[in-house]
Amino acid sequence: MRAIGVILAGGNSNRMGELSAKRAVAAMPVMGSYRAIDFSLSNMTNSRIQKVAVITQYNSRSLNEHLNSSKWWDFGRKQGGLYVFTPTITSTNSYWYQGTADALYQNISFLKDSHEPYVVVASGDGVYKLDYNKVLEEHIKKGADITVVVRKMDPSEDDISRFGIVKCNEEMQIVDFEEKPLVASSSTASIGVYVIRRRQLIELLEACAKEGRTDFVRDILIRYKGVKKIFAYKMDSYWRNIGTIDSYYRTNMDFLKKDIRDYFFREHPDVYSKVDDLPPAKYNGGAVVNNSLIASGCIVEGTVENSVLFKKVYVGNNCVIRNSIILNDVHIGDNSVIENCIVESRDTLRAGTVHKADPGQIKVVVEKNFRYTL
């Protein structure tokens, strides 16, 4: 094995609003039956990377629950495995992770104790398929110190100014790197996936730590761009970051398109997730379902249009769910109307609840009521 993997899944995003109150972005449920981190984890295992560390910090309960067994992604081997690192108090350090570089530095022993020559660093909030081996091959061929995976973003897809914007020369060497610029000078952005030689990374992290620097992008990529050979690897397939309510909503809705579904779910390689053993979805008499994704364990008795129903959702009689995302284990009482909303997981909506929002202003619904059982 040539590389180990590190997934940075510690982040909170305040642009996720109420949705991030109970989980890190990487643990966000997506596409009905997955969690955001499944995509990076599946990419790791599909790239035959066997040893992967997930670094978490912000509200990691939900993420830990999801990662309670590593066998769903085919880790959990004698060679390798899945490691989850949360900040710990040590004799020399009692701080939380101060930044991405600091998070790596605090777990530097994981890097030092490995023998694989390369490290693939990925983030836990991207929805994409990527063979990291191809990036690694390119990295070796170019003799790069660091390779950053970049993608040309379409301003209609997402707000470009929330990404790291790169500029490259003809050889794809990165000549300019701006983190979240007010005005983006190019539409090529980093997707937060890096390949780097393990010893090189250790060296850079130690140098950073000595100077009290903590951020991987600002203090390593940007600071060393003239010193080290930092190359870009261009990917052009589907990639979305789900770090804002708007992008989260749109990414889920993308999966109502056949070509995107086929690309992720019917083409090799597969995306893996924790198996929940729920029964198949059930449609009773009053069910009217159009252009929607329905996950297992759902029971539908009302109307569902242009929506994504996550696992174990109950839609009562006479309900109308339109252009909405209903997260796991939500119970929607009879005669309710939900339009342009994201309903938080484990909510219970009483009969006759109405939540309507404008298409451009997706509303997050959090309703904790006592759930009456039959």
């Binding site: 009905g32 997955y34 053993d277 029964p279 198949p280 979805a281 449609y283 009773n284 252009n291």
Partner: protein, 424 residues
């Protein structure tokens, strides 16, 4: 030292020939049920939910699919360091190598397996029933009765009792007499084929009966123990229990799942049924698609109309297609404009465009009227049905078929078109 209180031996070697083409390439316990499960998932899930973590699965007839499904037991949490699930096929010996000739003979040939775990009790199960049962409660009953053998029984309607082995008990549930498929039954307590034995009693009986040809639990072992004075008691099971031995009962019990509140409820929080599921993504219902009174598995895409049906995972229902009162298993593709009435379609079948299944008047099947009846169309796995053909009732199709094989574009009611498998 290894010590298990109770281990289970699951008999999964039978063909289940009354399921016709469904079991011509796989054993009955590996047949799909309820949209995503296989029949063997029910006893296996019952085991782990009852706290039994050591299960020997006895296979014989076409075991490939079962082996693939069971693997090392991960879906049922039966991947254990000590115990777990072990598949036990017949094996060669230096003298008298033989197949499993009967239910008890199969257990007899695996005495060493049981011996290894040193159990107090052995639970004997069969792999072809749909039910949820807590074997631990049955064991408690067995202990409280101080029984040597406990036999689970189920009250069937008196008029059907002659199809089963029935038991006659005293007021305490101690069995006095057995009747195997009696013409005039004196009791309606049918044996479910589920037994708890004291290991010492079972071992003694199997060794004593080792030369009996086709040694069977119901016919030989239980009567033998009874005659020798063992205490045999009946454990009266109430709850859903269904033998899915015929295409009709198989179809019916699947259809019961789509009732508003089904008698056999898969949606209960506790007592989950586990299965190996490779397909994870949610299902998609298209703008033009409609679904009513149906259950549908993961990753299925519906562009047509589905009503009162059980659809597996990874199925595609084409545009304008209509599926009614049918069972469709994983990976099958229903072509655009096809009309499917009261059919059972196995895994990975290709149904062409504008095909019509289940047309015309009923006629008894010419070759196997006892198997293909109930007005069903039954199609075996990996079959191909060409575009624009019509298929009548009580029919069976298995294998890749071509338009020429349908005279005037029609397979008459009561015909069979079986091109692959042992029945070809």
């Amino acid at each position: 030292m290894i010590k298990k209180e109770m281990i289970a031996m699951l008999l999964a070697g039978g063909q289940g020939s009354r399921l016709g083409v469904l079991t011509s390439k796989l054993a009955k316990p590996a047949v799909a049920f309820g949209g995503k499960y296989k029949i063997i998932d029910f006893p296996l899930s019952n085991c782990i939910n009852s706290g039994i973590d050591t299960v020997g699965v006895l296979t014989q007839y076409r075991p490939l699919r079962l082996n693939q499904h069971i693997g090392i037991g991960i879906p049922w949490d039966l991947d254990r360091n000590m115990g777990g699930v072990t598949v036990l096929p017949p094996y060669e010996k230096s003298t008298n190598s033989q197949w499993y000739t009967g239910t008890a003979n199969a257990i007899f040939q695996n005495l060493e397996y049981i011996e290894y775990y040193n159990p107090e009790y052995v639970l004997i199960l069969s792999g072809d029933h749909i039910y949820k049962m807590d074997y631990e409660v049955m064991l408690d009953f067995h202990k409280s009765m101080d029984a040597d053998i406990t036999l689970a029984t189920y009250e069937v309607p008196m008029e059907e009792a002659s199809r089963f082995g029935v038991v006659i008990t005293d007021e305490n549930g101690v069995i006095q007499e057995f009747e195997e498929k009696p013409e005039k039954p004196r009791s309606n307590k049918a044996s479910m084929g589920i037994y708890i034995f004291k290991w010492s009693v079972l071992k003694e009986a199997l060794q004593a009966l080792k030369d009996v040809p086709s040694c069977d639990f119901g016919k030989h072992v239980i009567p033998h123990c009874h005659e020798r004075g063992s205490k045999v008691v009946a454990y009266d099971f109430r709850g859903y229990w269904k033998d899915v031995g015929t295409l009709g009962s198989y179809w019916e019990s699947n259809m019961e799942l789509v009732d508003l509140v089904p008698e056999f409820n898969l949606y209960e929080e506790f007592w989950k049924i586990y299965t190996k599921s490779e397909i994870l993504p949610p299902q998609y219902i298209d703008q033009e698609g409609t679904v009513r009174e149906s259950i549908i598995g993961e990753g299925t895409e519906v562009y047509g109309e589905v009503s009162h049906s059980v659809i597996g995972a990874g199925v595609t229902i084409g545009k304008g297609a209509v599926v009614r009162d049918s069972i469709i298993m994983n990976g099958t593709v229903i072509g655009d404009g096809a009309v499917i009435n009261k059919s059972i379609i196995a895994e990975d079948v290709q149904i062409g465009k504008n095909v019509e299944l289940g047309v015309g008047e009923e006629a008894p099947n010419e070759k196997a009227p006892h198997i293909y009846s109930f007005g069903l169309v039954t199609i075996g796995e990996n079959s191909v049905i060409p575009d624009n053909v019509k298929v009548g009732k009580n029919t069976a199709i298995f294998g890749p078929t071509e338009a020429e094989e349908y005279p005037d574009g029609l397979l008459k009611s009561g015909s069979s078109l079986i091109k692959v498998g042992d029945l070809a």
